[in-house]
């Protein structure tokens, strides 16, 4: 996949392994980095994202905390302000809300409030999204809550290579980063990932597939069905697929460049339609490039309903069929 640097040694890793690899590399490079959260220590995380770290770095740097999300993020803020680089795990995105106040009222505002005297270089990691037959509250994708709040960055990788590079960038970032991991594809495929630490820059989208007729903007776990839909449509419509990778701040340059070429677009995400990122992207497009626009931007998203229990989750999630249909609608408008 595009800008991959694969000089030097590489390993074939899954996305979740790339998370661990990124954490381990940064912990080796920078002793201020520590990992904290529920079950991240001995257990290695409920998805094994922190496996082996406890053994390598010990309990002072890979910290099993009490079950208290506000406490985790709140103490991590204190740590970050005091010179550490905490990476706090929220076990599932659906359990991030008890920490919402600490994230929006403090992590996001400490720099502003203190005019730069205190900063909050921390990462809040959380697996997000549906499709793994999990219980209630385990399938959320509410990234739009965080993209609306100034002071936060929000990153969502879709490949193992990007995962490691973006996570390292997030840890090195001087500001708080919400790092959302598409757990549906934690183990879906492997990719060559350099052994050495490297950065994939925050704030840059990437074109996963070039096309001429319709631009489709997506991210995270929806990148794969979107690419699949593009392939299915190969003989009909030339689809460009842009993987946003960072959803705050958005890479307007890449979005507009693609759109100005195609004049038609769709946005695909799992989150509910109303108030989701698709609306923001659509608004940006028409603000900056209305004169190029040849069809309404189609929002192919989760429904405006709570995420259903898993017997129905396949219907909830946008998949290739809905995406194909949506793109066709845009192409044929």
């Amino acid at each position: 996949m595009s800008q991959m640097e694969t000089r030097g040694e590489t390993q074939n890793l899954t996305l979740v392994q790339a998370v661990r690899d990124g954490l381990r590399d940064e912990m080796r490079e920078d002793e201020r980095v520590l990992v904290m959260g529920e079950d991240v220590g001995k257990n290695g995380g409920v998805f094994r994202a922190t496996e082996g770290l406890y053994d390598e770095f010990g309990g002072d740097r890979v910290i099993d905390t009490p079950l208290a999300e506000s406490g985790i993020v709140g103490t991590a803020i204190g740590m970050a302000a005091y010179g550490m680089r905490p990476v706090a795990e929220m076990q599932f995105m659906g359990f991030i809300y008890p920490a919402f106040d600490q994230i929006v009222s403090h992590a996001a505002r400490l720099r502003t409030r203190s005019r730069g005297r205190f900063t909050c270089p921390m990462v809040v990691r959380a697996p997000y999204g549906g499709g793994i037959r999990a219980p209630e509250h385990h399938s959320e994708s509410t990234e739009a809550f965080f993209t609306h709040h100034p002071g936060l960055k929000v990153v969502i990788p879709s490949t193992p290579y990007d995962t490691k590079g973006l996570l390292i960038s997030a840890i090195r970032d001087p500001d708080p980063v919400i790092f959302l991991e598409p757990k549906l594809i934690y183990r879906a495929f492997r990719e060559a990932v350099p052994d050495e630490p490297y950065e994939v820059p925050i704030g840059e989208a990437t074109v996963r597939r070039e096309g001429e007729d319709v631009s489709v903007f997506t991210y995270g776990a929806m990148t794969r069905p979107t690419l699949e839909a593009a392939e299915r449509l190969e003989d009909e419509v030339s689809v460009e697929v842009v993987d946003l990778r960072t959803v705050s701040p958005l890479d307007e340059g890449t979005i507009l460049e693609s759109f100005e070429k195609t004049g038609r677009a769709a946005v695909v995400h799992e989150a509910p339609k109303t108030g989701g990122l698709a609306g923001e992207i659509t608004a940006t497009i028409q603000e900056e490039a209305l004169l190029y626009q040849e069809a309404p931007v189609k929002r192919i998203t989760g429904f405006d309903t709570p995420f259903p229990l898993y017997a129905l989750e396949d219907y909830y999630l946008p998949e290739a069929t809905r995406i194909v249909e949506g793109i066709r609608e845009v192409a044929e408008f």
Partner: protein, 370 residues
């Protein structure tokens, strides 16, 4: 405010690990039939649990949280309620919910990913399962408070784990209960682990019961694998909730010390974080043989009785599984229902658009992906 039975040496216990009565004075006032019924529920819960785990293994059910080891606390605490009382469960209270009238079929359906499993029947005073840890504590306080304001005379029991005591909502819910003197019983299933995090890592306080000190009401620690002690302690708390003594506050925090024999959920591998030895030690306290010995030795039950119960619980569980598995996948329109009382226009459009697509492409087009 007295905090009873502060440390483990002082836990309330009625039956020893061998099923011998250690404290006659605390023997609950239960008939033979009731005692046998409690035992049968415990057996039923245990067998259900084993079958549920194997259903998950066979791909017939999603992630499931087992309860084995915790039957004593679950069954006895639910048993101590009066008919009109309410239960606010966490996600692991299949046994307690069963006693209170939630069928095994519904519990299975829920873990099979059907919303219908959570549609508590009107006649059962059980709140829906709360997955986000400790959040239900506030709901239980609120409902109890409402009942008190309405002049009701009911108790509201709320179950949660040791891990839950670290959450802000535990604190806020109990604090409100103290201030508004609500008829609550806060029942902490301290099973020593919050997934992989041991009790000692959860808090530096010696007991969880002593946390009641912060809210001005009573905290009690009980042997949670002793069904008779659990029953007795809960019963007293329920009574106090309804009719507190002079100067006493209604709420109680009960810490039921126990152990989860199995994994946290079927997605968990406990061998990564705990020793088999520890599990074995706690298995010696298994509430079921303990209760069985008590019943046998007191002549409330004989070995045929035990066997008959074993047979009947097997049948009951098998039947529940058949019933649950014969329920077909819900229709996708269920997704759009019950979001609001009425369906907003935009939702109606989304449902219609989706239905049209489904008609065009057929169901399989949507199911293949994942």
């Amino acid at each position: 405010m007295s905090v009873l039975q502060r440390d483990s040496g002082e836990q309330i216990q009625v039956l020893s690990e061998n099923g011998q009565v250690t404290d006659e004075s605390q023997l609950p006032d239960l008939t033979e039939d009731e005692l046998v019924e409690m035992y049968r529920y415990m057996k039923l819960a245990r067998h259900f649990d084993q079958r549920a785990v194997s259903l998950q293994r066979q791909g017939r059910m999603g992630t499931y949280p087992p309860l084995s080891g915790q039957e004593g606390a679950q069954i006895a605490s639910a048993f101590a309620l009066d008919d009109e009382d309410w239960l606010f469960p966490s996600y692991r209270e299949h046994g307690a919910s069963l006693v209170r009238g939630l069928s095994l079929k519904r519990t299975l359906l829920y873990w099979m990913g059907h919303e219908a499993g959570n549609a508590i029947p009107e006649e059962a005073n059980i709140f829906t399962v709360s997955v986000p840890i400790a959040t239900q504590v506030c709901h239980a306080t609120g409902a109890a408070w409402a009942s008190k304001l309405q002049g009701g005379d009911k108790a509201f029991i709320c179950h949660f784990g040791d891990g839950a005591t670290s959450e802000g909502d535990f604190h806020e819910g109990l604090n409100f209960a103290g201030v508004f003197d609500t008829p609550n019983v806060f029942f902490c299933n301290n099973n020593q682990w919050a997934i992989s995090v041991p009790r000692e890592r959860q808090t530096a306080s010696e007991t969880l019961a002593q946390k009641a000190e912060a809210y001005g009401f009573e905290g009690v620690q009980v042997d949670g694998m002793d069904p008779l002690a659990v029953y007795e302690v809960t019963k007293r708390a329920v009574e106090k909730a309804k009719d507190p003594g002079e100067g006493e506050l209604r709420p109680t925090l009960i810490e039921a010390v126990q152990y989860r024999f199995g994994a946290h959920t079927t997605a968990d591998d406990p061998s990564v974080y705990r020793e088999e030895e520890e599990v074995e030690q706690w298995k010696a306290k298994d509430p079921i043989p303990r209760m069985e010995t008590f019943l046998l030795e007191n002549g409330y039950l004989d070995t045929e009785g035990v066997e008959a119960i074993e047979e009947s619980v097997k049948e009951e569980v098998a039947e529940a599984i058949d019933e649950a598995e014969s329920v077909t996948r819900p229709e996708p329109e269920e997704i759009f229902k019950h979001v609001y009382e009425g369906m907003p226009e935009r939702l109606r459009e989304q449902a219609a658009e989706f239905e049209a697509l489904r008609e065009t492409y057929g169901d399989d087009a949507f199911l293949e992906g994942h």
